[in-house]
Symmetry: D2
């Protein structure tokens, strides 16, 4: 019996890109609030989703440094169990429910890419960086303190896709005042057989389920964000027209399940 | 209407990991014939497949330097349209038909990874190298000539998974005397919803279709191959017990279709 | 007037691999105490250095996640101002003074490589990872607490050069009881002109000067370390015969100067 | 006795970034003729060099795919003995002799970086790509033929520094009509000791010596080149004001010596 939650299936299952849940994550994040062209945001939404309440094109650009593990100390193999991520979440409504929707996301690890696809995150490869906060005192620390500055960037194929900087101003007591929408994604897997290439094998709107979600050490401040136009990409279509606040926070959750909101295949 | 053959779907479709076929490929290859433990090879075969005629565990380890393009000179963007690949093909039978089956494959490009998944190749990320043959005369050339030596290697997560060397002896007039089995793969996409995680959404045995296949400049010679045991991988289960001949060749084909041999979902 | 502390010199000096000191660093570290073959350690020492007091081949293998900056918030450009490092420090004596000497070191950033050469660190490129300690509670955190486990690895050219794991047991009140030897290195730059290739242009024994050194949050525990033999490397000549304790700590310092202990060119 | 032409010196010398010459190279190249601001070019020249005959700011931007070897089949270890390179050569005069001078160069391999420094090439790390010409017929081939199109790019830190495209028009019978100037470089190694940081330890103008130079299969055609402004780089100061012809060629040579034209240290 071949083993593995994802390919490659193998006799012992060790080679599989990922094993069965639970999947545990903890990481540091920089998130930039911004507003894009509302029509461009609306055009990216999958069927059945509508622009957010106010239809102003509000979005967040996230940069994340993740560590992940299963139940067997996998985090002690950091060459495999760390990754960096950058993503856009745009605000939308699904059947009247305020949600985020993820149209673009980059990671630097294939297990993360595979898991993302299984959930609906449309992951591609990129190289992503964010300023870290260290503990030994130095001008190189970037402490979690008023005035501290952080930067972040994302690139793919040697093209810079996003550059951000924030400066911390105040600690946020209740993260839920800022981050309170569930995330929807589109789980999609095509068919390559001739005559069926316009009909995916899997096409579902799904809801990311985050068990034991913890958001801690949230700081807010001023922010800059640029997402330039790049040949062969169209993320710039939802580039910032206006940038809001920047956030630096730490987050953890576990994944054990996925909710299917809608199956587009009839 | 959102565009893209694969995620991310977007308004203009530029960001998609890949567009609709045709997909054209041309590349240089090193292939090493070897024999693995027949029981280990048999254990990797999907349902309905049986060990090859002689059941001796014969396999080929391939290293490929690819360039690919669509119909719009995409090959002039080489940061995106080149990739390197390493894979194992084991010999098997499907309903009595001699075929190859691909249990392990590495690439260094996300478009290649995504296309592979759509076909059934169980691709993971790796870093792969092969000696190239250049034209300006020098001890650094590795000419296509008797006595010339080539090497190749594949690694992932900073672990060497395969190292090979060959020395050319003779040109092969008819490549079909060596490479004559079609390749079967397992197209597989899981479900993450709790209670369904042991039932994939897509699980098919497929046949890779290679239009306009061209195999040219084939040389054969002596070979060495090692695929050491590595923590977190089990490719070593089909490591070489005996190594046969090594080949250096160039190959091209186009992909426009995929044949489904068997749907494992009932 | 061309500008830049190191090449490339340019009109504005922006392209230079590095600017003039001060260079500020802060980072997280995993260090593994071990004992190598004393004769192999002695054989690596430069002229004038002798084996340590007890000549037992004691060494430390370090893994470091660094952030660095100058005086202008360079740390907000994390794609350039973070790097990872792995190095060996062997114990030795220089004119009777207990010191460490660094025979092998890997980094993943060219500014770090260039600065290292300017000081005497014999840096090569590698890919290095260590388990990080995050703050949002999860099985993926690796907290600084008794029983917590960390791993680390270093690789180059797709070959694993070192793999380590530690398990924290106790906090160390005074880091100076463990880390108290200054580090010596060999600053070396060759000549390529025919007839002079055996006579370097620069060949000095130097002492690394670390201003405002801070070592904090030091934990000690049990450790494992492996440095396997790899084709084209000889770090395994000082592989661990016995492994001592493992440490996880944070460290910061600034560099503004370098002490020349000995000029080997007469 | 410690061995190695460059650091790290070690007992067997295997770990050294590079061994003694001869160093043999063979590769494929794309070169774009262009004209930059003559004043910006002149400003980059080291002391004693003057603008070229016509002082028009003529330069070439090169992209190179290299394979290199010593005398022991090192090219069969392609994970170490291949690299990609991008560089600018500007035209200048040294004591009346027409030469090229190299102010900027990127490579993706540390042995190449170290050798470059030993010669005077001011190498930094980057990721570089060029369209390859394969032999198995396909739209993906990029043949050496009239009308064939090639692209190339160079990036560092996730920023695109150069993008080029050429279209072949005619074969060039005599490469020396195009490529006939020797290359000068500045060999430079700083001092870090306080009070000496403005006085390099090594500062020489050198002439690259290329034994057994072979330039073959030279095609010329139309060209495009862009070198955009990027934060933290100043290569754009010599960006193309006008682009000339593009060339695709193969080149080989060996390095055994270096000529010192001038020692700037008195």
């Amino acid at each position: 019996m071949l083993k593995g939650f994802m390919v490659p299936l193998s006799t012992q299952g060790k080679s599989a890109l990922t094993w069965l849940p639970p999947w545990h994550y903890s990481g540091d994040c920089i998130a930039i609030e911004y507003w894009a062209d509302p029509a461009a945001v609306a055009a990216l939404l999958p069927p059945g989703m509508t622009p957010a309440e106010n239809a102003r094109g509000r979005a967040f650009f996230w940069f994340l440094d993740w560590q992940f593990t299963g139940s067997n100390d996998e985090l002690t193999d950091p060459a495999r169990y760390q990754y960096r991520e950058a993503l856009v979440l745009v605000e939308a409504l699904f059947e009247g429910m305020p949600v985020n929707y993820c149209p673009h996301i980059l990671v630097d690890n294939d297990a993360a890419l595979a898991r993302g696809w299984a959930q609906g995150f449309p992951k591609k490869l990129g190289s992503i960086y964010q300023t870290r906060s260290f503990s030994a005192p130095s001008p190189a620390v970037a402490p979690l303190a008023k005035g501290s500055r952080f930067g972040a960037s994302a690139a793919a194929h040697g093209e810079r896709l996003a550059t951000a900087r924030i400066q911390l101003e105040e600690k946020i007591a209740n993260p839920l005042t800022v981050f309170n929408r569930p995330t929807t994604i589109r789980r999609y897997f095509p068919q390559l057989t001739a005559g069926h290439q316009d009909r995916p094998a899997v096409d579902e709107l799904t809801l990311s389920l985050t068990d034991n979600l913890a958001i801690v050490d949230v700081w807010a401040g001023s922010a800059e964000l640029a997402t330039p136009q790049v040949q062969g990409e169209d993320m710039h279509l939802i580039a910032p027209l206006r940038v809001g606040r920047g956030y630096r926070l730490s987050m953890a959750y576990s994944v054990t399940d996925l909710r299917i909101l809608k199956n587009y295949i009839v």
